[in-house]
Symmetry: C2
């Protein structure tokens, strides 16, 4: 059994403050001086305290629970960094649901996705129009319990129950480290993980997961296997202005988004798919029926309110004093990446991905990618994860992403 | 692809008003008189209007959507019948969630089920204590997106990834008609539907789903395959005082409950499992991680409030004027079953299951089972579903429950 953390943060926002912190710690470790030692001691003490709340769900409870040994766990992520913005919004996104409301299984029986709340669907369309990151015309919206459920629903919908063998599922390395276990944990006869898309040379149909910007390295991605029988799932969880320049509205057959990455509301467990083909949308809906008989109405209603507030914050920005959600979150990410690069560049142990700026249609200016993850390379160490574990810093090895262990 | 309705109501409360209605209609059809005809015409007209809202999710949209032909769809269920009670409760179960709350993935990292909200867990334990229908001591609570997800999580947890072949999954006929498709839709190599538990004679390990009271027929159930290598999942969705006499607290290895059946809140998609074995609870949690990375916090918080109100309504009943939730729902079911039996008994076309009364520890008196479903038998017709379809009444054939087509 894979332990909790090996899955947990894989596709979540790695708490960038901790990412920054570890860099500072590493810098301290390798640039020790009289002054540095003192600073390092205080800093480490603070970081240990910050990180302590994460320890209990670590895969190695004996490491820290029984002995109370202090470690810093960067193998987890939780997108709570936008909480301050939502506090500033006050009651605007407060949801009130009376006990007698939303009792039915059904939401809108005129839609293929009969458990999709109309208010939520409306706000999804509106937000994509405001941000300009996805075409929604001619698409069926399928709501899911987070985008994880939608990835599984898409694998189910794109595979055939009558095929002679499971369809291959690929993604270009480094890929989201949960993809292999998500594809294989049920030992499904419908689909099967087949590894790195770049090395995939099997004939016949396949499903390619295209994650753009990519988790973990933050680069923009296109399909890697350019063949006729490929079925594509575009996982665009991070295609929002705070993480990457918006170049044009995405326009694919099957595209996934999620509230946890766009607005930071991971606890709602709400994702959505934009699906061109009616039969695929039907099969995805069927999957969710068999899996969970729909998706929490409470969270859909709450998500509708949150997405509406995001759209309004963008529309009203020029007329009011308030700052749009994306301006807030962009600035927050920019500040963290600035600090992160400063500490990494100050030493020669580690490198970070380098990005080129591009024009962002949303901000109307050039911006630079600011991924939600730190894809760190150890320059002179072969196994970066083991090395850092020796310094009581838990990370996820590049191996789990189908990449070199030099990375974490 | 199995169409929407074949799954949909299988394990949900069949709207008993519609069940009653169809009986009245059937009575009218076969006891036509001058007065009856007039009554029948008015009644059918009303029923058609009532049923119309259900039509759009039928498997045969051409039947009613394009031609707007009127049918009565009893193949669906939706537990909205307790709505009036919850309206009477006013603001007591109203939930208010600010936009900045419940953003994290995590709930209580000290628990195996790290996405379980502590408030919800507390109210689950309290309600079972108040009702006396389940032992919670020494159990791990695993929350699920409805009990459907927990059934799948349990199949995953009880099967072995290293087994030579998928473990057999059985249940005694008539069984919940979704079990076969839930077990098989992923073509899992871990588990496989093996049909009626009474005819199961394969050697080796197996999983038996024990549904008690049973969906669809309402009878109390025990394990049917009495062998040493059996792993049992007790689906006790209907083991609540309004549906069946509570004889003693259930005390099994793995027991499932759901809000949709106990309180009628299907739209919340909240179920819970009481699990004795720590490793099983861990594997179920792992399944939900890989499937949906947790369960909506909003709905868990709302469910906590609803369960709390149910417990308080029971505890305060003797001191205040208000009626407990179970007294209300018991009386509602009793009234509907009385009417249902009256119309069925007035003719000789159909029969209903007969139950013996038993002492209910919750009410402190003898009560009679009042299932959430109508398990109707056609006396002289071999294929009851086809027969009723001819009269524009959609039902689910006994065949889908592993039983005779004389039943619907």
């Amino acid at each position: 059994m894979v332990a909790v953390p090996s899955l947990f943060s894989l596709r979540h926002l790695l708490v960038l403050s901790l990412a920054l912190n570890v860099s500072l710690i590493l810098r301290a470790l390798y640039h020790e001086s009289g002054e540095g030692n003192k600073w390092w001691f205080c800093f480490k003490k603070k970081m240990m305290a910050d990180a302590e709340s994460w320890l209990a769900i670590s895969s190695t409870p004996s490491l820290h629970n029984s002995t109370r040994e202090k470690v810093i766990n960067l193998d987890h992520g939780d997108p709570t960094m936008y909480e301050r913005f939502w506090r500033q919004m006050g009651d605007k996104t407060t949801i009130t649901i009376p006990g007698w409301q939303s009792m039915s299984y059904l939401s809108d029986v005129s839609k293929i996705c009969w458990f999709l709340e109309p208010e939520f669907a409306t706000e999804v369309v509106r937000l994509h129009r405001v941000v300009g990151n996805a075409v929604t015309e001619g698409r069926h919206i399928v709501v899911g319990t987070g985008s994880s459920q939608l990835i599984l629903a898409a694998l189910y919908a794109l595979s055939s129950p009558h095929a002679a063998e499971p369809i291959s599922v690929v993604s270009a390395a480094p890929y989201y480290s949960s993809y292999p276990s998500m594809a294989d944990y049920q030992k499904s006869g419908l689909y099967q993980w087949a590894g790195d898309a770049e090395n995939f040379d099997k004939e016949g149909p396949y499903i390619e997961l295209v994650t753009s910007p990519n988790n973990p390295d933050g680069y923009r991605r296109k399909s890697m296997v350019n063949r006729s029988q490929g079925l594509l799932i575009h996982d665009l969880a991070y295609y929002w202005p705070q993480y990457t320049p918006i170049s044009s509205p995405s326009d694919h057959d099957l595209t996934l988004f999620t509230a946890s990455k766009s607005t930071g509301h991971a606890g709602m467990r709400i994702g959505w798919a934009l699906v061109k083909d009616k039969e695929v949308a039907k099969k995805m809906t069927k999957f969710i029926e068999l899996n969970t008989i729909g998706v929490s109405k409470d969270s859909q209603l709450r998500a509708a309110k949150v997405l509406k507030a995001v759209s309004e914050s963008c529309e009203q920005e020029n007329h009011q004093n308030g700052e749009s959600f994306f301006k807030y979150s962009y600035n927050l990410m920019a500040q963290r990446w600035k600090q992160l690069r400063e500490v990494v560049d100050a030493g020669d142990m580690f490198t970070l991905p380098q990005f080129s700026p591009a024009f962002c249609t949303f901000f109307g200016k050039e911006t630079e990618p600011q991924p939600a993850f730190m894809w760190l390379k150890c320059v002179d160490v072969e196994d970066c994860e083991t090395f850092l574990r020796g310094h009581k810093i838990l990370t996820r090895s590049g191996r789990q992403f189908g990449a070199s262990p030099k990375y974490i």
